[in-house]
Subunit: 574 residues, 2 copies
């Protein structure tokens, strides 16, 4: 296209609410505009990138045997009441009434609608397996929309739902999607990683997140330096340590110490002159209304998701003062395992510890030289803490490292959560009625675009990987008023177009500096600069946005050079 | 694709609310499913057709220089308050509040959002003209959703908005869209017609509807048998008749006649033994709060849109009893022009009439032999009636005919209605601030698909024109358990796929009759039947869905035959 005819309003200003680089750059490059809190319009440049992601997603979903459908955004309350989510889903579910005062919501996800669709049309095992997907608009009324299109309220999503006759089939469907997702993010030209994840409130048994690596990412990813293991922080497992024969010192007699106004681990450590590793924290949780104490070494943090999973609890929160008083006989802040009146779980970090310091269940007192078995018992040891760099890999002997990422995709094994509640049944080979087994698979389209920017930018703007670039080449005549320069630029532009390459001709009557700045800002991978001096030698300059590398080429050679680079980069991602 | 792997639930049952053939067939062919009143899911077969329409729309919009954007579905009340439509738009505008109790609506159209977008980013004449389009989901809370996806609440629409610096530019933008729309509907393989239309409540000065011809169409289309003139019924103009020197009889003395319980034209005609053509109806309207009488010949009907336009009224309705009493001195049912106390407009149909019968403005009385000028005066003559077959063309000497159609597209010249209200201004060459001139252009995507079916079906099902066919060919092995038959079918299928043709292999273990019925129902243009008998002669049957014509071909020849037919039909529509 000709730049002069494009609606591409670039600028320097960034809105005050733009915290992350992708948000700033998408505004500055004229990709998006905010309509209202968490709701954005895509301008032509932005929507071109969206369509590229969508196209790759479609091709890979189709290749994996999924079939495209299109489900409504406005959904009747009845289906959500049937699944139980009408009451359980929080305020993110935007509910409203139509002109006839019937209850509806804007779909934040489509498990209910798809399950309803499939239960009506699928009757026998011969119609299974089935995987239906759509690329469609979702709405989630986020409490704090932020980061531009990364965490907004209205957004485009690819969501797919698989239906299988049995567990083996469901596993196969999951693996197909896992493979498709790898293909998608690789073809987008992204550095990404699938990581093990907790299934969370959507339900189900097993899931992976697809993370785009970026320093600005909201999520911490745990991975092993030696093997393939990777997980998000919530899920990251910690290997059960070997029980060593003996800790460093012999058990000493337990001792009660007055510790006035000493509460935090740091304070206890300083007051008693012991390492935080020798102190044990005792946290009292309320799990579905019942108390439970969790013990963990003073230098570690509890992972509540793990506690919840180990307890099999639906709801888990820190206990209130009354529950703490009941369990420990003392107010908040002095809990300890000795004599406690509730079940006690211990993190693996306690396994090789003796002569611990613990709370005394008594105001302003701690106990020293406390020893497991002798002084208190635990119901079981479990992996209850948050992973840290340097931990041992749960799969091999490697060491755990951390990196940051942005979640762009998520694959879930849902099991029968929805098909059971909504009676999505089929007749098997023996004529017996069975419940379908489901999986669900999402990709945030706009978020993938934003994540790509978070991974690929410099101080001058965005740097698109070739597969997602809105245009692959920009031809910049240094001065459009010099006829020879303009003609050469037009010729190169026409030839690239004829070859089917996506190219912009910057035919604006602007200074070269302005054009270069815009080309850098919008991140076009290849820039051809046509100037009078080089043209006199039959040459033009080719600059690679990513490396900044600039080379002179014979104009006769230029188009084939450019096409080779494009083909090579597209091939690398394919 | 293999039929056995497709989610294509065909059936015989039609829902009780399915009144039109497209609705019935889309359900039976497994294209759509109803989620709730006026809200439908598209199944894979249906969505394939949707995507074909979208693709044609995109290509032609891009070719016309429009640029694709994507605007939000959820829109803040503030913008609608600014344009004034928050209060004026009826209950079709679905309003709701978010978690922070702020007012929003679901976009039924996007004039407000696009005008807001453009006013922020377009500052000078150099950025104009501009045409931005999107293909996006709309919601209109219809009082009576019906006809499946033809008049539903949630639907996909292509909407485009042009912004120009002056009238000449706006006219050019309109013409570009007019051409693009012709290209789109021709390329869809539809028999359609652009017709002049009233601009209606969206505002603006000038518009055309694009109508797909179908007997079941909701709209009557008026066209001239001789020239190009075509309009919808609301808009259809009637030529001003020549004033003839004299009517058939000389003016007779006016006479008052008692006509007890005689009210309708038929009753007056029978009671007084005069033709309805001699009787004049007097209708009292309330135009923006003021009364106005409209006279029309007894055998004709008033077109209220024309009355409204002639009066320049914002609101027009039939007057209530009080207004009638004030204007005529009599209760409802006896109004006449003689002595009436309000402005009087006469339809052209009165121009060559004398010795008329009119209401007497007195209960149970009519006046006979009433003559214009002598007995009453009119403010002006105008075209105020509904067009009828046999009327004279307003453009030439031809005769008006009627045909039925379905509106699938609409192009509007909006003028400055929104740009003025919302201050979409730009600086012209002289640095003066001016208001942008807008146009808007819509195509109902789902409705185009339904209209195509209304135009192309028979008792066995749908008959897709080649460009919109979800698949172009279906290969039907008569019996999949005969290895030679199945192999031949597989080979043909593979060869067609290799050539990039969209083909289904009906590999289901079903009777041939069942397969033929499904192939007819889903309307695949070309059917290849592979049976043992013909195969023994190296032949297979090719059946054309549209004509029912069936021919035998050498299998070695078949694929090239099929490809020729496809290419020819695609070319005809291109």
């Amino acid at each position: 296209m000709r730049y002069s005819e494009m609606h591409l309003p670039t600028g320097r200003e960034v809105p005050s609410d733009a915290e992350v680089i992708s948000h700033k750059l998408m505004i500055r490059a004229g990709m998006i505009r905010k309509l209202t809190s968490g709701i954005y319009s895509y301008l032509p440049l932005g929507y071109r990138v969206i369509r590229k992601v969508e196209q790759i997603v479609r091709e890979e979903m189709d290749r994996a045997g999924a079939q495209e459908v299109h489900l409504p955004m406005v959904q009747p309350a009845e289906l959500w009441q049937e699944s139980g989510r009408w009451t359980f889903y929080g305020k993110e579910l935007l509910r409203f009434r139509d002109r006839n005062a019937r209850d509806y919501c804007l779909g934040p996800t489509h498990e209910e609608v798809i399950t309803d669709l499939v239960r009506h049309d699928v009757k026998t095992y011969r119609q299974l397996p089935l995987n239906l997907y759509q690329i469609q608009t979702k709405f989630r009324d986020e409490v704090r929309p932020r980061f531009g299109v990364m965490r907004c309220r209205e957004f485009g999503m690819k969501d797919a739902y698989s239906f299988d006759a049995d567990e083996a089939g469901a596993e196969k469907s999951y693996q197909k999607m896992f493979t498709a997702y790898n293909n998608i993010f690789r073809r987008c030209g992204l550095k990404y990683r699938p990581v093990e994840a907790d299934s969370g409130s959507i339900g189900g048994s097993y899931s992976h997140e697809f993370m785009v690596m970026a320093e600005s990412g909201e999520d911490a990813i745990v991975f092993c330096e030696k093997c393939n293991y990777a997980a998000n922080l919530e899920k990251a497992e910690i290997a059960r340590p070997e029980k060593t024969a003996i800790a460093e010192t012999d058990p000493l007699p337990m001792e009660s110490v007055e510790t006035p106004n000493v509460r935090t681990i740091e304070e206890v450590s300083g007051f008693l002159n012991v390492s935080p590793k020798q102190i044990v924290k005792t946290l009292i949780f309320n799990a579905d209304g019942k108390s439970c104490a969790v013990l963990i070494r003073g230098d570690q943090e509890v992972n509540e998701i793990k506690v919840k999973n180990v307890l099999g609890a639906a709801q888990l929160e820190l206990a209130d003062d009354e529950m703490i008083l009941q369990a420990t006989g003392a107010p908040r802040g002095f809990a300890g395992p000795v004599g406690i009146k509730t079940r006690v779980l211990a993190d693996y970090s306690l396994m090789n510890l003796n002569n611990m310091v613990v709370g005394a269940n008594k105001t302003d007192y701690h106990l020293k030289n406390v020893n497991l078995e002798r002084d208190f018992k635990v119901e079981s040891y479990a992996d209850l803490r948050i992973s840290r760099p340097g931990d041992l890999c749960p799969r091999c002997s490697g060491m755990i490292q951390f990196v940051r990422g942005i979640e762009v995709g998520h694959v879930f094994k849902l099991g029968v959560k929805y098909s059971k509640a909504m009676k999505a049944l089929y007749l098997d080979r023996d004529g017996k009625e069975k419940t379908m087994i489901m999986g669900c698979y999402g990709i945030g389209i706009g978020r993938t675009v934003a994540a790509c920017i978070e991974q690929n930018f410099d101080q001058n703007g965005m740097i698109w990987p070739m597969p997602l670039a809105p245009f692959k080449v920009i031809v910049v005549p240094v001065n459009i008023n010099e006829p020879a320069v303009m003609k050469a630029a037009e010729d190169i532009y026409a030839e690239l177009q004829k070859c089917g390459e996506e190219v912009i001709l910057d035919d604006r009557d602007e200074r070269a500096g302005v054009k270069f700045k815009d080309a850098d800002l919008i991140g076009i991978p290849l820039r051809i600069v046509v100037g009078a001096k080089n043209l006199a030698n039959g040459q033009a300059e080719l600059k690679i946005r990513k490396t900044g590398q600039s080379t002179l080429h014979a104009i006769t050679d230029l188009v084939s050079q450019v096409r080779e680079i494009i083909a090579a980069e597209m091939h690398n991602a394919a």
